[in-house]
Amino acid sequence: MKDGYELVYKRPDTLLSKRMHYCPGCFHSTMHKIIMEVVDEMGIAEETIGVSPVGCSVFAYDYMDIDFQQAAHGRACAVATGIKRSLPDKFVFTYQGDGDLAAIGTAETIHSCNRGENFTIFFINNAIYGMTGGQMAPTTLEGQKTSTSPYGRDVKHVGHPLRMAEMVSQLPGVAYCERLVLNTPANVRKAKKSIKKAFDIQKQGLGMTFLEVVSNCPSGWKCSPVQSLDFVGENMLKYYPLGVKKDVTANSN
């Protein structure tokens, strides 16, 4: 209670009060916030090290008030492997986009998952290269127009979009894998629970925890934030179905 009002909502302490560089309507800001809410609620800000990628979220460290390393393009999982192996009692996560994780960094992603590294991967899949100006990503949908697929993604020419959550869930080293979306308040709350669960599993040392977030890119998709939500709901989620792909703790619950 403060001045007769009950405080029911506030910025998490570990999310710095800074104007974000993200475009209006982008899910990055929401994702940053809920990760930091979980870090605050678990009281692990002093024990958490983040790894930021190359891409729009390279500056995640500007907003999250925890130790951070910035990795070379695609190498966040290798960097996180080095950190976690050196500091096995700390919480370590990577925060990566689709170009970073599913194109240039595919090998590091797959092998870190396969080794069962005990860190958490936050994979933000918005089907486009945002920072470089809207080029085709490994997860760009069939027919989707980007600056390097101006007539729409031709799967005969460049292959089909990669379903990373389904791929990594096949690997024995992965303990927990879920695909989430942040397009409604209910889904945001759900995602927050999954983040907490991923950190809990990381603490138990059960293996890799992989959360894919189906995201948006109003600027890259050349639409309004509201229209981008429609695209997520109508197109992205059809190809990228939500849900838990793997959970080694499911039977013990």
Partner: protein, 360 residues
């Protein structure tokens, strides 16, 4: 004083043993000939060192980035490779140099370019001493010429990497890596984990415990002014390294008229050249750079000034790389020649002597 521990070991294995004794907390590598014995030895010794991470990565690209993470977390970390694999690491080394993460690299050189040959070479000199990756940066480079120096330089590389927050490289070759010699092993450092080194590495990203401000390790300086400031800081550091860390060996240089310069394996042969030449009445001496960067420029300048010095001869297992750095210092005051073989073909002392005689 404790009893000396003497062993008869292969260069690669002695280097690996030295790394363990130097308190290495993590090794991240990928197999490649002629240096695979390093990770083989480490994985064999692993049960004795349960606190040391020894991890075979999926590629050299992954290895170097694991080093970034583990060194950034505050560990004493090493990777090793041979020429093509070391090329793959260059992007990561550039990032590591900019983020100033202490880390030790080993390049047991083989012949190139390309996939080349698995025989020894000194063809990676330029890559080693000029940075190797993109941007303005330097790596401290050691050039061991014996199994003993594989050990000594490894220990030193870990210490200097920490001291200067900089990558340090052992630039050796397939012959030194594979040969067996008597070696005196160093005493074990007391093992300390990344967490144990928290106080002496206040910049490390190990969790902002005790209310300290968050640490950030990045090579991104997107504002022009920030990037230039960072470059000036790095250059100032490199200047200090040049002042403090130059190492070389002089062999019969005092009255020498012919200055041979050679490092690593070539320098062993060139010592013999000096002995044979002297026996034949030639006033020949050897300057052996032990650190290739920082380079013994002051010593070369001093020699170039001497009236009795007639010429410099750079002997390398390459078509000529270090001779360019000698020429930069000599700056036209004396002739600087080069003689080299490639592809793993190693010159004899007689070959070298004949080449010198042809120049005088």
């Amino acid at each position: 004083m404790s009893k000396k521990e003497i062993a008869f070991m292969k260069g690669n294995e002695a280097l690996a043993e030295a790394a363990l004794r130097a308190g290495m907390t993590g090794y991240y590598g990928y197999p490649i000939t002629p240096q695979s014995e390093i990770m083989e030895y480490l994985t064999r010794q692993a049960p004795e060192y349960p606190h040391v991470t020894i991890l075979q990565a999926e590629s050299e690209v992954a290895s170097v980035n694991m080093l970034y993470g583990a060194g950034g977390a505050g560990g004493r970390v090493m990777t090793s490779s041979s020429s093509p694999g070391y090329s793959l690491m260059q992007e990561g080394i550039s990032y590591i140099a900019c983020a100033e993460i202490p880390s030790v690299f080993v390049n047991v050189q083989r012949g190139g370019p390309g996939l080349g040959t698995i025989q020894p070479s000194q063809g990676d000199y330029f890559q080693a001493v000029k940075g190797g990756g993109h941007g303005d940066y330097r790596v401290i480079v050691f050039a061991p010429n014996s199994v003993q120096e594989m050990v000594d330089h490894t220990v030193l590389a870990f210490d200097l990497a920490d001291k200067w927050r900089n990558p340090a490289l052992i630039l050796t070759d397939g012959a030194i890596g594979q040969m067996m010699e008597k070696v005196e092993l160093p005493e074990h450092y007391k093992f300390r984990s990344a967490e144990d080194m928290r106080d002496e590495k206040p910049w490390a990203t190990n969790g902002k415990k005790g209310g300290r401000k968050k640490n950030l390790l990045t090579s991104l300086n997107i504002k022009s002014e920030d990037m230039e400031r960072k470059n000036h800081e790095l250059q100032a550091k490199y200047g200090k390294i040049c002042d403090e860390e130059v190492r070389y060996e002089s062999y019969h240089l005092d009255d020498a008229e012919i200055i041979i310069s050679a490092y690593g394996l070539s320098s062993r042969i060139c010592k013999k050249v000096v002995d044979i030449g002297r026996a034949q009445g030639m006033k020949v001496g050897l300057l052996r750079p032990i650190t290739l960067w920082p380079f013994p420029s002051k010593k070369i300048d001093e020699l170039a000034k001497k009236e009795n010095v007639k010429l410099f001869m750079s002997i390398e297992m390459s078509v000529g790389q270090m001779d360019e750095d000698i020429k930069l210092v000599v700056n036209g005051r004396k002739p600087v020649h080069h003689y080299g073989r490639t592809g793993g073909i190693i010159f004899t002392a007689e070959d070298i002597l004949n080449q010198i005689k042809a120049k005088i």
